[in-house]
Amino acid sequence: MSIRILPDHVINRIAAGEVVERPASVVKELVENAIDAGATRVEVATAGGGKSLIRISDNGCGIREPDLALAVERHCTSKLPEDDLSQIGTLGFRGEALASIGSVARLSILSRHAEEPHAWQIAVEGGRRSETVPASHSGGTQIEVRDLFFATPARLKFLRSDRAEATAITEAVKRLALAHPEIRFTLSGSDRTTLDLSAARGESGALERMAQILGAGFRDNAMPIGGEREGVLLSGYAGLPTFNRANSLQQFIFVNGRPLKDPVLAGALRAAYSDVLARDRYPVLALFIDLDPADVDVNVHPAKMEVRFRDPGMIRGLIIGTIRDALAREGFRSASTGGLATLDALRDRAAAGSFTRPPEPGTSPAWRSWADPAQTVAPDVSSAAYGASPEAEAPRPAMAEAGFAEALSAFAVLDRPSADARAHVQPAPEHLLARPLGAARAQIHENYIVAQTGDGLVIVDQHAAHERIVYERLKAGLEGRAVQRQMLLIPEVVELPEEDVGRLLARSDELAEIGLVVESFGPGAVAVTETPAILGRVDAPKLVRDIADDFAEWDASTRIRERLDHVAATMACHGSVRSGRRLRPEEMDALLREMEATPQSGQCNHGRPTYVELKLSDIERLFGRR
């Protein structure tokens, strides 16, 4: 068969395969067009998971009549004014989207440019373009895509269920909406519940939009992120370590307003949180990187999900550094959802039939709880006590007496609270109440410190909290001084690919500073002559290979630091107050004060909170007072 140039409609369909992968990518391309057109309102409507209909209306600048016919042609765009691919200021630039969509679907564009007397309409069906005809439209552009992939049945077969495609569209719209809080987005259709994201302007706008998309909890558990290095600006909000998820779906990174799924950036995020989060948990965040378009190549991926930076190491450093700073600054905060989760747990148990009761005059001050009230208390009391009727809140004295006596007799077999060490019998001093973690009031179960704050109560896990404090102290000590190095009698020769050897040797000074000395040993090997003394006997080959891999992938390695920190963590665990140790009131207060002063004391080394806070309002809600 002879070689020939493919006809245009085939070329378009091949291109469509890259750009238009599924309905969500159509929505992404068209919404990006709307944003590039300067719209302040974007409405998206879909049906059948976007397979049967996608309609996108905006109030952007619109398209002039003579441009309409060109717009649906391949490689036609209004977005590269200087024909300079290094200065891309818009989301789109390839000039492919409309042509690609037109070649695989029934596309119709209805648009009115401000300077046109009326609107114009054009339709493309499977690559065949109709004439431009006059039409009626109030302003902006409305694009309808029907029967997506009708021209390429093979692709149609590979689509997922309507529901899955509809969800993907929602995700695509959310991603773009996060980056553009000033635009109002509505997403509706027969296949979904309507999503209406009202425009939010100003300082708080971005956070407002994030709360709309990432959930209201994000607002209370986010730290503002701000950093700049060599003209690269990093902004946005990152979640507290204790506000984490089991997957990375709630991580959004934008480069010049463009949502990305970039493995390099994901790695940087993991490194930034490595110290405060277990490896299989992911922080929630939305970060914006803004830099000179000349320093980033977006022309890497047809759907522009990945980009290439001129200096990826610097971007990585910026992300890690800025987030770590924020973590150190906000570190002692712990997720407020801890308190909410506590409330939920209490409510659940109440619903399941057990309840907690406030102390009554004449009985022991300790709270008693028992698993099955029906066995110890007359049933009417148990049900009534939790009911909302006011007189049930104070059970009849006789009943209460009887109930309590029985409760005591049944008590031995039940969960017995350990004797509490009381901190202050007198009212808590005012100046302590004003502190973030309040004044220690008691220790319960020999592990939890209950503290009173101005507007609530705080429960502290003494072991987790003290472990973190000792850990941070040891770590600070390690960072401040040179690492002692044990010289090796017999250098360990590690064989490596040549390029790894080059990378390691190029940074040997940096490695020596943290205790690892490597020397050249022929083209394909390095000799390790000194190792960090604190690590004891190390598996040098494995360590060196891991570092080489890190250099190859990230251009940086935190591995030795991590190992040193790990030693510190182990020492911290041994050197901290165990649970089961009774603390004197002064010790409890000292621990609370130290937590307030220690960066990142809000969570243990695995991202679990070291304390939970219950606001007075939460407690009142628990008792139905609000």
Partner: protein, 372 residues
């Protein structure tokens, strides 16, 4: 099988063999000890597949035969029986062996003796005899330096080899320090291959060498070693690897000679290292004419300084060491004075006993400094 045996004899034999048996096994029979009654003897054998120990004790054999029973349990039972009791062992129907002593009676689950693994030593071409204390000293001087790091498995043992047909030498190193001890080569050791004896085997051999009067027979090939001490025979696999060329790391030209009283030095190091943290216990030694200053600096807790009068005439030097390594080595030295031969703060240091003019120390230690 039916035998009657003195408790003391059985206990001594079990003492030798039961240590080889690992506490947790994936192969059930490895938890057992093999008992074989033959002629006037009871043979006991235990193995972990890398090493086996066989012991023989006199017994009254009424019916010859063999079986295997759980080693640690048998040992514990015999240990708890009253002194001087007579123990009878009898295999019965239903897969159990009955142990009787006085009025106590135990039934132990058996596993068939035919399944018990054999190490199969094969041909052991080299063999020689040494006085027990000599081999014991070789082991004691070097054992502490054996590496525990799994990646360089060839350092997980003591390297025994013969030098020029004259010296039998033992060497161990963990990459931070090295210990070398040697004795006159015994007759028959001339053609001996260099062998690396694994750490666990070294420990077991050492326990067999308690008799100061006894002698020990050593037989070996390049993959197995057999040690015979009286009735006890220990056979072990050797580490299949090449020991590094250690001679190169032993410095020859260290010219700064330091002589000090070992006991004083040990106490001073121990004293100043009190302030160091758990890991990386660096102690800095500053040497000047006739004087050593020991300094430990721990930014977390404080610092310590001590001073010793020493015999030193070379130019002043400052050098750091891991204090634990210093104490380990000092603990091995036998003479009253210790000799250090130093070059500079970044080169290996030689430590040995003070010897009379013209004689060489039989043990030598090399220690790598720390950068502090």
């Amino acid at each position: 099988m039916k035998v009657t045996i003195e408790r003391a004899n059985l206990l001594k034999a079990l003492n030798h063999v039961h240590r080889v048996v690992e506490r947790r096994n994936t192969i059930p029979i490895l938890a057992n000890v093999l008992l074989r009654a033959e002629g006037g003897d009871l043979f006991l054998k235990a193995t972990d597949l890398d090493m086996e120990i066989v012991d023989r004790v006199p017994a009254m054999v009424e019916a010859a035969g063999a079986t295997t029973v759980p080693a640690h349990m048998l040992y514990d039972i015999v240990r708890k029986l009253p002194d001087g009791s007579e123990i009878s062992l009898e295999t019965g129907e239903g897969g159990t062996m009955t142990l009787r002593a006085g009025r106590a009676r135990f039934s132990l689950q058996m596993l068939p003796d035919a399944d018990f693994p054999d190490l199969n030593a094969g041909d052991l071409p080299t063999s020689f005899t040494l006085p027990s204390p000599v081999l014991r000293r070789l082991i004691e001087r070097t054992q502490f330096a054996i590496s525990t790091e799994e990646t360089r498995y060839y350092l997980n043992g003591i390297y025994f080899h013969v030098l020029g047909g004259e010296r039998l030498r033992a060497v161990a190193t963990d990459g931070h320090r090295l210990a070398k001890a040697e004795v006159e080569a015994p007759e028959g050791s001339a053609g001996m291959p260099g062998v690396i004896v694994p750490r666990k085997t070294v420990g077991e051999i050492q326990k067999l060498l308690e008799d100061p009067e006894g002698s020990v027979e050593v037989a070996l090939s390049d993959s197995k070693i057999r040690i015979t001490v009286g009735a006890v025979v220990l056979t072990s696999k050797l580490i299949d690897g090449t020991f590094p060329d250690y001679e190169r790391v032993i410095p020859k030209a260290n010219d700064k000679i330091l002589t000090l009283t070992k006991a004083d030095f040990e106490r001073a190091v121990d004293r100043v290292s009190t302030v160091s943290s758990d890991r990386g216990r660096a102690v800095k030694l500053s040497l000047s004419e006739g004087r050593m200053v020991l300094v430990v600096n721990n930014p977390d807790s404080g610092s310590a300084t001590d001073e010793l009068a020493v015999d030193y005439e070379a130019e002043p030097i400052e050098i750091g060491f891991n204090s634990r390594y210093l104490l380990d080595i000092a603990g091995q030295l036998t003479s009253e004075d210790a000799v250090f031969k130093l070059a500079d703060a970044g080169s290996p240091t030689l430590i040995q006993d003070q010897t009379a003019e013209g004689t060489e120390a039989d043990a030598l230690y090399v220690l790598m400094p720390m950068r502090v």
